[in-house]
């Protein structure tokens, strides 16, 4: 109200009649419901990483490497959290050029308890600190996903150095390219929209849709994982010895924590607790259930038995695929996307991997890379209002824009292509650099003995 009165005084001073102020930019408001939801959502994403992802991955390695996985996830989470506060947030989420943000908020400079971050509704804001924290959790889980590709054979020190490099040169630019924009309030009319649009990230300008991180998180991490396992090489005994998971039970617990936490990831990405949040929620639920069934039945049909590991993997594939689409798909579109994701990811880890012969230990590429690409492209299809999607909101017209399927698909291909090339290149250079500086791979003796004892000086289980 105070703001409103100030505005009236401002216009009065200009000598303009007050009725000309018929369509004022709404004064920024922070809703306590939104704020409460964002706290919960942020905690849920933390739950996905520690312990969710750690247990999901940990269960799939041999017992002698269990702690190495838990420790890598735990420390990557802590490391990227600090890097995010020091420079990550500023580079990803402040105005700069189309590829990188600025340095204005290094060390979170200038942010106070009163600072606000824009949401997707005009005039609705959330406190900036919770936005910083929410986005921090995304920047923390993404690098942790990569380690699944080269699990059981890489030095702990090499993992940390690689992650710091990759976080800086791949995660931050991609996040800026896909997600940075001036916020809805800048889109007052066509001219203002054009000016605001020019400040947005490169892929945002291309119109690539990524609601909760299909491109930024999953394709980004999956591609880096693929490059990693190709460069680091196979585990000793690959295809000769048993490298079977030591505890599918742990993997099921981890997958379930991921599924639960993913409601924070996807629904939290809406930044508000409103009707669209409810749509994102049901889409996340249904796509995951559909993908679980698709993987399970595909495996049952083709391999003879429905496995728990398959069920858990299917759930993750569905979660990955719905992530970019969850704010634009309708519930039936979400089911369709989930069914396709479950079947395609089953094919990729079962057949594609054996055909190409790379050792992506825990299928970081097979599930996150392939599922992410599928989801990103599928977003163009399920967002179509003709197929029950919401279409894309036009912030100038304040309504749903006419949907152009081919145009949207082109935008999505831009997102996927740029992310694959960017992450692939950064990863290649970063792996090379780390290999030259400290060496990526442990010695054969250490690999045989297991990383827990040799790298961390402890064992997970005492029989």
């Amino acid at each position: 109200m105070k703001q409103f009165i100030k505005t009236i005084i401002f216009f009065a001073c200009l000598g303009l009649p007050v009725f000309a102020f018929a369509d004022p930019a709404p004064a920024p408001v922070v809703d306590k419901g939104d704020m409460a939801w964002m706290i919960v959502a942020t905690v849920l994403v933390i739950l996905m990483v520690i312990p969710g992802l750690a247990l999901f991955y940990g269960g799939m390695v041999r017992a002698k490497n269990m702690l190495s996985i838990l420790m890598q996830v735990f420390v990557i989470f802590s490391l990227t959290s600090l890097l995010w506060a020091i420079y990550g947030y500023s580079i990803a989420f402040t105005e700069g050029n189309a590829f990188l943000g600025g340095f204005g908020k290094l060390f979170l400079k200038g942010i106070t308890a009163d600072s606000q971050a824009a949401t997707f509704s005009k005039g609705v804001y959330i406190p900036e600190y919770i936005y910083v924290a929410f986005q921090l959790t995304f920047s923390a889980i993404t690098p942790a996903l990569i380690i699944g590709a080269f699990a059981e054979r890489v030095k702990f020190s090499a993992v940390l150095l690689f992650i710091a490099l990759w976080f800086t040169f791949s995660y931050l630019p991609i996040a800026h390219m896909v997600w940075y924009w001036a916020g809805p309030d800048a889109y007052t009319d066509a001219a203002a929209a054009e000016a605001a649009g020019a400040t947005a990230g490169f892929l945002f300008q291309k119109g690539a849709l990524d609601f909760a991180g299909g491109t930024v998180v999953h394709i980004n991490a999956g591609v880096s994982g693929l490059i990693g396992c190709l460069m680091i090489g196979k585990r000793i005994g690959f295809r000769k010895e048993s490298l079977a998971p030591h505890s599918v039970t742990m993997t099921m617990i981890g997958a379930s924590l991921l599924w639960v936490g993913w409601f924070g990831f996807n629904v939290g990405s809406n930044l508000e607790a409103n009707g669209l949040a409810a749509l994102v929620f049901i889409n996340t639920l249904l796509a995951t259930a559909a993908a679980t069934l698709a993987w399970t039945f595909a495996e049952w049909l083709i391999r003879g038995k429905p496995s728990m590991l398959g069920g858990a993997s299917g759930a993750i594939a569905g979660l990955v695929a719905i992530t970019p689409a969850c704010g634009w798909a309708g519930p039936m579109g979400a089911i369709l996307l989930g069914l396709v994701a479950g079947a395609v990811c089953f094919w990729s880890v079962t057949f594609l991997k054996s055909t190409l012969g790379y050792d992506d230990s825990l299928d970081a590429f097979g599930v996150h890379g392939i599922g992410g690409i599928l989801g990103a492209l599928g977003t163009a299809i399920v967002a179509n209002p003709a197929l029950g999607g919401t279409g894309v909101w036009d912030y100038v017209a304040n309504g749903v824009a006419e949907y152009n399927l081919l145009g949207q698909l082109t935008s999505q291909i831009w997102g996927v292509g740029v992310c694959i090339i960017w992450s692939g290149t950064v990863s290649f250079i970063a792996y090379k650099l780390v290999d030259m500086l400290i060496g990526l791979r442990v010695s054969e003796e250490v690999e045989r003995e297991g990383l827990d004892i040799s790298e961390h000086g402890e064992t997970a289980y005492h029989h």
Partner: protein
């Protein structure tokens, strides 16, 4: 005295213990073991990987008996552990030279 070592299916362990108790055997030692015989292993599938598990889990039951109880004990074990299917296990019998009860120092059949 004889030492009987029986390798049986794990889920038959309770039946074997009961059958031995019924004929008056007062103690056994049980170990979880792995091995293979005619049953061979089985295949496990984890995503794209297929692993042949050669060693199957079995229970090893060790029981020391007086000579006159041997036949009864062997019969009790084989009856209790029998399912008629491949993989039921085996029974080995060895001579046992000496038995000592640590608490009292008793030896021989007294100590069984």
């Amino acid at each position: 005295m004889k030492l009987i070592t029986a390798i049986v299916k794990p889920f038959k362990l309770d039946d074997v213990r009961e059958a031995l108790s019924d004929i008056g055997v007062s103690g056994v030692t049980v170990t979880e073991v792995k091995g293979f015989g005619r049953q061979k292993g089985h295949t496990e599938l984890y995503r794209g990987a297929e692993y042949v598990v050669d060693f199957l889990p079995k229970a090893k039951v060790e029981v020391a008996v007086a000579d006159q109880l041997l036949d009864q004990a062997v019969e009790a074990i084989s009856r209790a552990a029998n399912t008629g299917k491949i993989g039921d296990g085996k029974i080995f019998v060895c001579n046992l030279e000496q038995v000592i009860r640590i608490r009292t120092g008793e030896t021989g059949e007294e100590a069984l």
